[in-house]
Subunit: 260 residues, 2 copies
């Protein structure tokens, strides 16, 4: 039997709120067994870019990571946020170790090819991006890897990679060796059947149901890419995907996505 592994992804909102971040990390410390945390960015980087007079580069509504922006996001994601999270987890008794994709060649990305838009220093994760041997060694040693959303291309270039993508790529790559549960933590209690009713959490969704809910328009537009991504992870061997409130990971309320 494969050992269990829980991968948690938290977004920028919780990073920006010290009290909420502390609460999430305290709850995370109560989760036993091997685990990995992936964290998003938060508003700090944008605010600093503004303070320094660096205007966000947007093309067709999409943010471009130019060299100055990459420098600042690396400082925030891999520096301030990652080290703060690691120090707080250490204080909570979790042997956390912060990683970018460059560290130990943990995640090797490919700079996004320029088609209509040049996204700049953005990294995509092809098959084989994840150094599963390194992660196995760290987990074996009782370490909780904490990933920020910075990767590298193996040629000395750091890249900015979406944190959701990192979490699901880790989950897929590690599914061969572990029974992986992928947790997307956000500010709602789960997937809602009525966007205006916070109580309407759908406890469980299997693929056939998901297709129905999508067809009926029950699942709101913003959730569709997240859930498409989640079901793709299930198809690729991930055992379970959980959509839940970052402040309630130890409470029963949540949406569990599973293959059947």
């Amino acid at each position: 039997m494969r050992e269990g592994l829980k991968i948690f992804k938290i977004g920028g909102g919780i990073i920006d709120d010290d009290a909420q971040l502390q609460q999430f990390l305290t709850e995370l410390a109560r989760i036993s067994g091997p685990k990995i945390l992936v964290h998003g960015g938060g508003k700090g980087a944008s605010q600093m870019l503004q303070s320094l007079g660096i205007e966000p580069q947007m093309v067709q509504g999409r943010r471009i990571t130019d060299a100055a922006t990459l420098d600042i996001v690396t400082m925030f994601y891999a520096g301030k946020t990652n080290k703060q999270v690691v120090a707080l987890l250490q204080a909570a008794g979790v042997n956390a170790l912060g990683l970018s994709g460059a560290d130990g060649n943990a995640i090797r990305a490919v700079k996004r090819p320029v088609k209509d838009i040049d996204y700049g220093f953005v990294g995509d994760l092809p098959e084989g991006s994840i150094n599963t041997a390194l992660l196995g060694q760290l987990l074996q040693a009782g370490i909780t890897p904490v990933f920020c959303a910075i990767t590298h291309n193996g040629l000395g270039q750091l890249l900015n990679t979406n944190a959701d993508t990192i979490a699901s790529t880790l989950a897929r790559a590690l599914a061969a060796e572990y029974e992986v549960e992928l947790h997307f933590c956000f500010e709602k209690d789960g997937v809602l059947s009525d966007i205006n009713d916070e109580q309407s959490v759908i406890p469980q969704i299997v693929p056939a149901q998901y297709q129905q809910l999508k067809a009926q328009g029950v699942i709101a537009a913003g959730m569709v890419p997240k859930l498409d991504n989640a079901f793709a992870a299930l198809e690729a061997g991930v055992e379970r995907v959980v959509i839940e409130n970052a402040l309630k990971i130890n409470e029963p309320v949540k949406t569990v996505l599973c293959r059947s």
Copy 2:
């Protein structure tokens, strides 16, 4: 016989010069066997503090690390510089992994007690600060740990620690298990017998000689604390301390300090 381990420390000057940093890292990649790199800060953090209108806090000529300064140095040291160095080493074929003291609880510091001066968030390293088990595991796995000068206190607080202190404390702690060579790399070729003659490198110094050179005033004032620290490391079991030019680590010119 204990296995050899080389610990290299580079300062801020080389961090600020992309070409020199690349040259040093290329030379470092040619050094075989287990190794650790410790890097200092560079001017980036001070420049950013200035750009953001944060005035350096000085008391009696000593820099104070207040909360805002700690945030910025963490971003630069643990974020930008550490990840850049790691990505460049990975490109050079070295399996580097960046660490602050918080990561894997690698270095646990104690906030400097307030006596005459409150230095703020500065961490000193008492006996037992180094997680030698973690470092042993990483080195065993063929990984080159790359330390920035940020530590933690185990209670969730990050601290700013002198990079020379980190390097010599690592060397002393690992001397029980490894035959440690500690390399302080800087912009000169070694310890000079004539401060005005760059060619006057003293090839080797043993403790008795050092006392003489100090008494004669041959060794310049600025070098004294560095060398006192180096000879203390030798007394504590470090095999050899090397003072050398960061750009010439594979050349014979250098000063080697040894016990006899």
